[in-house]
Symmetry: C2
Subunit: 414 residues, 2 copies
């Protein structure tokens, strides 16, 4: 069955790649309308998934990600409309240049082809990925988790209706109806039919996909994000950014996991930081200097803490002698996701931006802005922390590639 899905997707991708922007937009908008019209049916399917999950003893956090209600379903339909309103990347040429022999040369965007998304509980990935892949002219294979299979199939019906309304082939977006890992393994062998795999979910799922795939994979394993508070930083700003980066949504990958404090501000800043975060219920794990300054509530940090993605109300804090040491700490322990500096110093921010090689580098703002929507990409299919093809949040443009186009009037090569 998976073999057929892959072959059908490849055939459909040729049709989708040639479809005008307005046809692809029509399919996305029609799918959005159908999600709204089918709300009762989709929510019933979702309730069945949630009930089955509860019976099976799924963790509460997972059940929360899985559950839809009227508001979440409306958000999901609205996100599709937003993607339909995005500028179409296909066929664009950013600039052209003329060669001495008169040839006019440019790079034109074209779709990648077939993209497979392998993900876990969150049903919004089904519609978000469909919208973004189609916006960029790709066919998509949607393989969600078993815990969401009823919801995903109901959403798949709405997607199929959207494609039909625009006369696009049904195989342009297929929900894989089987959820066992063997089916995923088999899917990942189809290097001839699938151009890119994007796994989204826990580190275990992602490692499984990377190990088994013959197809290129774009992924991030985890987000160990840092906030570095520089000497002379505006302490109020630093406190607000540290709080926002840690507390506003601790379970997501762009949340801060380690705060590095320059020793010149440590005596003043560390006690305030510990008091502020402590009052919000954050457990602080500090090096010796942080413990000396931060009070009894600070737990000793070990090397495990510098590497940890807590995804919880825990933060590691370390006092560093210099900006260079902060950069070295990030290089040693970071995950190439997102790092922020809080500083007043022009030269410090320049050095931080140049030397930190992570996929998003932020000056005087929260790490939580590392998100396709927040950065202005319109929407996000995921975040890459490996450098090939895309690095950082990925929008529709990152689901395309470019070909050279060359316009001549008879030139031959001498």
């Amino acid at each position: 069955m998976v073999d057929r899905i892959a072959k059908d997707a490849r055939a459909a991708s040729r049709v989708v790649a040639k479809a005008p922007a307005r046809v692809r937009e029509r399919a996305i908008r029609a799918a959005s309308s159908r999600v709204r019209e089918d709300a009762a049916r989709i929510l019933a399917a979702n309730r069945a998934d949630v009930d089955a999950g509860r019976t099976a003893g799924l963790a509460p956090a997972l059940l929360d990600r899985l559950a839809l209600d009227d508001a979440r379903l409306a958000g999901l339909a609205g996100a599709l409309e937003a993607v339909a309103a995005l500028p179409d990347p296909v066929g664009a040429i950013d600039r052209m240049w003329r060669r001495p022999n008169g040839l006019l040369v440019g790079k034109m965007r074209l779709p990648l082809g077939v993209i497979a998304i392998v993900y876990e509980a969150r049903p919004n990935v089904t519609t978000d990925a469909f919208g973004l892949c189609l916006r960029a002219g790709n066919a998509v294979i949607l393989r969600g988790g078993s815990e969401a299979i009823r919801t995903n199939r109901a959403l798949g019906d709405a997607i199929a209706a959207g494609l039909a309304a625009a006369d696009l082939p049904a195989a342009a977006a297929q929900v894989v109806p089987v959820t066992d890992r063997a089916a995923v393994e088999r899917l990942l062998l189809h290097e001839e039919e699938i151009d890119l795999v994007i796994p989204r979910g826990g580190e275990g799922l992602i490692r499984f996909v990377v190990d088994k795939s013959r197809i290129p994979v774009i992924k991030h394993y985890k987000g160990v994000c840092h906030v570095y508070v520089d000497a002379g930083a505006d302490e109020e700003m630093a406190l607000a950014i540290c709080e926002n980066a840690k507390v506003s949504r601790p379970g997501v990958c762009n949340a801060c996991e380690t705060i590095l404090v320059h020793e010149a501000v440590a005596a003043s800043f560390v006690p305030r930081l510990c008091a502020r975060l402590g009052a919000l219920g954050v457990e602080i794990r500090g090096d010796a200097r942080t413990r000396a300054l931060g009070g009894d509530a600070v737990v000793p940090a070990t090397d495990l803490d510098w590497a940890a993605e807590y995804l919880a109300l825990i933060v590691a804090v370390r006092v560093v002698p210099s900006l260079g040491d902060a950069v070295a700490h990030i290089e040693r322990w970071g995950s190439q996701h997102t790092e922020a500096i809080v500083t007043r110093d022009y030269f410090a921010q320049r050095r931080f931006v140049d030397e930190v090689g992570s996929s998003t580098v932020v000056v005087n703002a929260s790490t939580r802005f590392a998100d396709g929507g927040e950065l202005g990409l319109g929407a996000e299919i995921g975040i890459s922390t490996s450098k090939l093809h895309a690095y950082g949040p990925m929008g529709a443009e990152e689901l395309t590639t470019t070909k050279f186009v060359v316009f001549g009037d008879g030139q031959i090569r001498t």
Copy 2:
């Protein structure tokens, strides 16, 4: 030994990535000077390689690619100077945009890290790849073939002298001194230390690298390039382009292997094409209609011919009923390398450019322009016919990636 090379390259890549453009340029220029100064020693090493190759019964074409003389060595040194003069891609931000909350967002270029080049006889790859990788701020591991090992080691000495002159670590560009395939296999396991592998050479070498590598590979297997002569094309222009694309250098990947002729011009054009190419010693393999028009010398073509990369004075010719059939033929038999249309018709070229998904699409010019230097990239590290990361000729910019940089004044996410 290969393990040490990979680890040293990773460490050196951190130094190179932070080195200013002028330091990397100094190293490239100093290596070029050293190649000129060491000419006698390099040519002696090359003679030893060529003698050993002749004794071992290497094919004449391979011996030709391997052999250096004064002119070729000067060309190789000149190419390094040209790369040193290219604009530096590292640290550039093409455009920035402002978010409603005041954040200023852009994408800044940064090096990929460590690049391994696995190649065969041609010694110019050693210096070309060194220059382009360093231009883009990367460390490089150069693993050439056994037949060129003495030459490559001598060139490696010049490269080492160039790096030393700029105080860059020797491990920023290492010539692998062992040439057995087991060493390559071992190298290809170092996914933590190496970011990208580019194989250059015959299809056998490339398939070997793709099969064994855990590291992302950018490559092209072959170039089955097409020239399509449209209805109403300027026949003189079409003849000149077909001749140039086929005959000017038949052994390279951007040479034309199949000519497709619209039936509306076939009666006039096919006889002229066969006469013109025949007189230049080109063997023509045609479909039934080409044979009927082209004379007795035309050999019957089979499906094998449509798929063939001859790399020789042979060309396949087919008469097609329409532009759509030409596009379908290219999609079915092509290798996503380079295709050209010869036409006077505005709408025909628009459709060809939009619908042909190959990495280079040319209007009214020779396929031979599919080359980094000819397209204005300054130099070329290779050509990609797979869509991820880079598609088509790759210059220095394709050896970089981009990170998001975000400038705020205290923004937090609400």
